[in-house]
Symmetry: C2
Subunit: 105 residues, 2 copies
């Protein structure tokens, strides 16, 4: 194996892990319930769990499940104040993620 091939393999491995990471972000937008949550946050800024659950017409338990997925992918930030948890969108991540598909890298 030449030095070029080694470098190429390494670069491909990096690119592959990037792709998998990005696929996870898209996966967190791929469910209608979660996308609805993201759209609510996009329109209204910071919201609490109960506010989101009410407006999205889902149970608090289901919101908790989906918000964990959104937070884990990095798409939403969360903070807890007393017994209330607040969420807001990470719009920068959304922008960079889409830029990678539209502009040649």
């Amino acid at each position: 194996m030449t030095s070029h091939e080694i470098k190429s393999t390494f670069r491909d491995a990096i690119a592959k892990s990037d792709t998998e990471q990005r696929a996870k972000i898209f996966a967190s937008l791929a469910d209608p319930t979660r996308l609805g949550i993201v759209e609510l946050l996009s329109l209204q800024g910071e919201m609490s769990s109960s506010e989101i659950a009410n407006q999205a017409e889902i149970s608090l338990a289901l919101l908790c499940h989906h918000s964990k997925i959104l937070a884990e992918s990095g798409l939403v930030y969360t903070r807890k104040d007393g017994q209330t948890r607040y969420y807001r969108l990470n719009q920068e991540l959304i922008k960079t993620c889409f830029a990678s598909l539209v502009e040649p890298e």
Copy 2:
């Protein structure tokens, strides 16, 4: 039910179906194999089934499966010339889809 409520319900139904439609587009980007295909198309423009399958290191049967999902969501256009099928990205759809998450509607 007042006229306002009727309109509101109708608008919500439209919004919901829009959300489901968009979720499908994101779902087609949510799989690492498909996202890899989209990234190849983004970098190289129009490609044939075999070219994609070779570069993505997947079987032609698997490419066929994934490309159907990509075409159905509208993310890729296809055309067939003889026995060869060519694919290219619908970059406009990608742009409008992301705009809906970043800018207030």
